[in-house]
Symmetry: C2
Amino acid sequence: MCWTITETDQYDQAAIDRLGNKFLVGNGYFGYRGTLEEYTKEQKTATIVSGIYDRVGDLWREPVNAPNGGYVQVSVEGQPLNVLSGNVKCHSQSLDYAHSVHHRRTAFETASGNMVLIIARRFASLAHPHLLCIEYTLQACRECEIFIQTGIDGDVWDLNGPHLERMAPSTAGGVICLSASTHERGIPVAVCERTLLPGGEETIFQGEKRILREVRARINWTHPYIFYKFVSIHTGVDSTAPLEEGIALCNRAAAEGFEKLYQEHCRLWERRWQECDIQIKGDEEAQQALRFSMYHLLAIAPTHADTVSIPARGLSGQVYKGAIFWDTEIFMLPFFNHAFPAISRNLLMYRYHTLDGARRKAAEYGYRGAFYAWESQDTGDDACTLFNVTDVFTNRPLRTYFRDKQVHISADVAYAFWQYYIASGDESIFLDGGAEVIFECARFFLSALYYSPERDRYELLDVTGPDEYHERVHNNAYTNLMAAHTFETCLKVRDLLLARYPAQAQALIARLGFARDLAAIESALKKIYLPGPAKTQPVIPQFDGYFALEDVALPDLLKRKLHPHEYLGAGSGLATTTQIIKQADVILAMFLFSERYTKQEKAANWEYYEPRTEHGSSLSACSYSLIAAQIGKVDWAYRYFMKTATIDLTGEGKQYVGPLYIGGTHPAGNGGAWMAAVLGLCGIRCASDMIHIEPRLPEHWSEVNLPLAYRGQRLNLRLTQSEVEVQAAEPLTRGVEIELGGAVYRLPESGALTLSYLPEQVGQSA
Amino acid sequence: MCWTITETDQYDQAAIDRLGNKFLVGNGYFGYRGTLEEYTKEQKTATIVSGIYDRVGDLWREPVNAPNGGYVQVSVEGQPLNVLSGNVKCHSQSLDYAHSVHHRRTAFETASGNMVLIIARRFASLAHPHLLCIEYTLQACRECEIFIQTGIDGDVWDLNGPHLERMAPSTAGGVICLSASTHERGIPVAVCERTLLPGGEETIFQGEKRILREVRARINWTHPYIFYKFVSIHTGVDSTAPLEEGIALCNRAAAEGFEKLYQEHCRLWERRWQECDIQIKGDEEAQQALRFSMYHLLAIAPTHADTVSIPARGLSGQVYKGAIFWDTEIFMLPFFNHAFPAISRNLLMYRYHTLDGARRKAAEYGYRGAFYAWESQDTGDDACTLFNVTDVFTNRPLRTYFRDKQVHISADVAYAFWQYYIASGDESIFLDGGAEVIFECARFFLSALYYSPERDRYELLDVTGPDEYHERVHNNAYTNLMAAHTFETCLKVRDLLLARYPAQAQALIARLGFARDLAAIESALKKIYLPGPAKTQPVIPQFDGYFALEDVALPDLLKRKLHPHEYLGAGSGLATTTQIIKQADVILAMFLFSERYTKQEKAANWEYYEPRTEHGSSLSACSYSLIAAQIGKVDWAYRYFMKTATIDLTGEGKQYVGPLYIGGTHPAGNGGAWMAAVLGLCGIRCASDMIHIEPRLPEHWSEVNLPLAYRGQRLNLRLTQSEVEVQAAEPLTRGVEIELGGAVYRLPESGALTLSYLPEQVGQSA
């Protein structure tokens, strides 16, 4: 099975952007785009550091792109060897995604007809979060002199920069350094580099925004020229003395040596894959797409801190302000819950650390409790602007209601805490902040509810659900269901804590002044309006009045467009007065509350909403895959699975809106791929008391092997078209029950269980 | 004092449109546009009949334009005498608005150098609602032969027609007839005409859509040629046999003769003016503008029926679908209440007759009770479309929320009933349907209310207030105040009826099943949220979050326009995200609830909202005048008074939106002129127990004389800069109390009272 993905001869700007995302390496602390060593800001080189943001003027706050310590430019015969200069004989760029190692290999022909080969590999050390390591090899057919410039390039790509000021180059022994401060808050940022450049005497060049080493050497075919770069990245967010720590790290790394660091790094990545790799027999394409999706989640998952989370475009750039959306909680967390619960815990704790920001936002809008940011950065204050889209007809900013009205975000956060608990059994999360988050989210919805005396029920009015083409609607089914779930979760967590940790529970309730609200939540939960399927109408209305909107076919709607890039939502967008929706909304709710609906209801809703969904969001495909699987439409489930699983492989997603670059990786799509494969096609649903399995494998999948973390226990599952085998991956510490085809089985002490099933039976069982 | 208004030499299309409105004659049953006798549909000739509507295809339903019985075309030397043909030596068109008589006088020069004079006058008989009378005189310097064509032209101007089908010309004795049926409902329409044409033998020409008499005659300077046209208009809405009744009417009128009918008509108009004319000494301009405003109200006021009301553009055409808006209740009714209470009663009964339409609309939107049509026609069903404006950038219809969200309409209706009762003392209106209307309006608001447990109050969410640039807002101050007023009125009417007519009251409550709702209304009234001035913020927020909108200066906002006709509201209009409002909203509420606010509060709000108001509606100026008067800003009160009082005199309002004609008369602006003069500058406020007077006459107004109907008693008031004189116009039948400067005076048996005041004192008294 291939664990490497390779592309050759692609260096026009669109390909450079695409490969920069696709071939990203990262370790959760920073992401380093898959660009070539000779590239500069025009080619979107970037070292995006997790959790540090900056704002210039009244432009968007966005992540800081650190100075590029990976810069190398080699010249031969006075000509730089640069793929952009066009003297390339052959070229390939590849990613070993088993280990997050980037490789490049390029042969240049010089003016004199010599052939010079560059081979380089790099990795963002998983063992040392602040460390980037590069091996750079030069070889020539005929002996020649090479001129090497390498060091730190501080003239970086920014969407709304420049963010780094007071840039100061310096040296410390063999280490060169570039330190700077961010514009808004003066946070120090330091990038250091240690390289041993063999050959002639090294010169240090210090420019305004760069510090480079320069050396001349001679190479030939039998005496390749190899050097190693050890680059450190530190900021004041994560370090008390970024410069000093960087110098020390570079020296330590150099002493350790590239090969040892590389081996250590690869071992850690291999261990990761042991805990999450899924083997699909009979479908190499799906196999690669699913692994590649998981790779991109792993490369940006924070293991070093619980104060950061995963932005919507990962660590691939500054797009979407580097902000954390609901993407993380709803579409990425399931993967981590069942593979790396500790990472889930970090991601959730980020929401606890930003709870005060959510409280400020609630207060800003006249609510109580926690109204999480639609676009959350370091403080939890909302980075989302009120005018998020530009009208193509007038070039004016359009008012959108993402920030004000997507209240479901707070329910998504609470849902995620509960899902983590269900999957992990880890009660400590509640004591460590989870209960406070959930209570405050419930309090938020309590303060947002209206009671209709006319209908004797509580309603949530004037919200925007996941479908952003219909803003400011009443009783969005998804939002109401999620708010009710927040109330339920709040009461369950209260009961759990009162039973198991009464003193802490009472102290928390007292500290939050939450007793009265708890009583109100209990009574509101009884009467909150949950739009559901009716006997005469099995399709859940997405919101009040949805069915009264124009029922136009999607192709007909698209024909009405007068401009290829016109936005279909906002004030007067084409979709707003129709039933065409941007992304899964009711269908997502049906997945999140799978046990609430019958297969018939799910089928009716899928058939209704699927043709009406424009999939204008990368979050949409996986929900349609998941419900398609549940209702036995395996072909559709597979199609939507492949759509979400290949999103960063093909890189065919939208890269620009007008002049604005919106490309990057799609971690929610990556997480959706895992969900569609494991929770959809493999049909695994973990409840607190047992694991339900209802496989709907595509016909050409002969076998699937997958590891699963479940309430502190690691299991291995093997699914075929007729059998399910469950095996403990480590000695059983607790009873594990499996439900299949309506019967419940207990994993024996021996730790292995093989069950037969007939796919048709499973399909008909509900 | 001049009672005639004249214009000369105006016959380009814009002037023709403008004069068609300005010189309209009417009697409430029909309006006849101020066009010339030789005009046809291109010049917008129209006979708009009150209360008959028709719809073709999926275009707007609109009033029916009856065949034009006033058509006359004279030819001399083979050339038609038509101002449009350009052989005009001198021309004038004028309106005697004391009597609603249209005059035209044109001298034509013929090809041979002869001079031919046309003199014509016409009136829509106030004594005979179905009758139009025309006198047509021809004179020539030198003897010549004239060829006259006159009769009924059925090829009429329509916005969304043609509405008349199966057009059938016929004759009956000396009467010619054109009968037809409306397209949608087949309602018969018949126009008949009787003319005696002296001269040679008359020929009848019957075309497809016209029937004309043709005759040749000889005229000269000393032997003018005079003929009279008696034209009847009947429809199946108001007549069981339109054609037969028309023939009979024409014959009766011809027997009566023009002069007698003219005298009878003029006497009735003079009697009208006796009951309403206001004399302003010292300001001829204001005098004329105010009289002209009252004229236009009188010409279209229904005296013949209580099943019709006054459309927003009167009877001047089909603009705005001939629909009744809140304009009638809020801006026209005060004039009628205090001059012609019987007309007020007709207007209000129209709302009772259309109550079932309002019930249907409420049910359509999931409410109970009566949700009156935003644009009401004959059935009370809403003629307002969901897409009421066209985007100038994309030419697409824009979704507007006039129909769905301007719930204040039902409160406006209830308010009007109560105001009529306050002014007239007529309790019978409640027994005759008023109570049912008010109860159902209160029930509507009850069913629309939401309770916020968080704020322990009832709120009205997702509404549009008078300011249509901000749709879908929460707790619009105007709307909430008006809804609360509806509740109050409902309870007062219940109490009044239970005390005075207990059996009828109980029967009504039982029939409507209203007992439980009454209890709910009582408790809702206690907790309905009424946005008011706060100590720290005397300005009432127009709706939740208004102050958070961009506070841009109006000229700066207008500079942002990219297209001269772009609409500032709807989905993404320029004003929607700013504090710029279309028209008086809070300021109107402050007038309607004058006693609720201090002068300081009114001043603070006026100063705040005035510069932020774009006056994109003709309803806006009078509110700013009224409150300006109340806070002693007499110069501003006068300026806004003149703005609303001259609206149809100058005709400078917007005539076209894109290709759509929106011109016509502005009865709400006319009513606003009366309000600004009497309720504002003269400072008269009628309560149920007394008349409050606080004059703020402009300095150059030396004296104002005005009649006032008040609770069955007709009074004459005389105001100067230092005195107020109140005199009974007829023997006193009840006690009348006057409050001036804080003291209350009783009108003596003698029926006259003269009070002195110092304007400064009045200004400082509150």
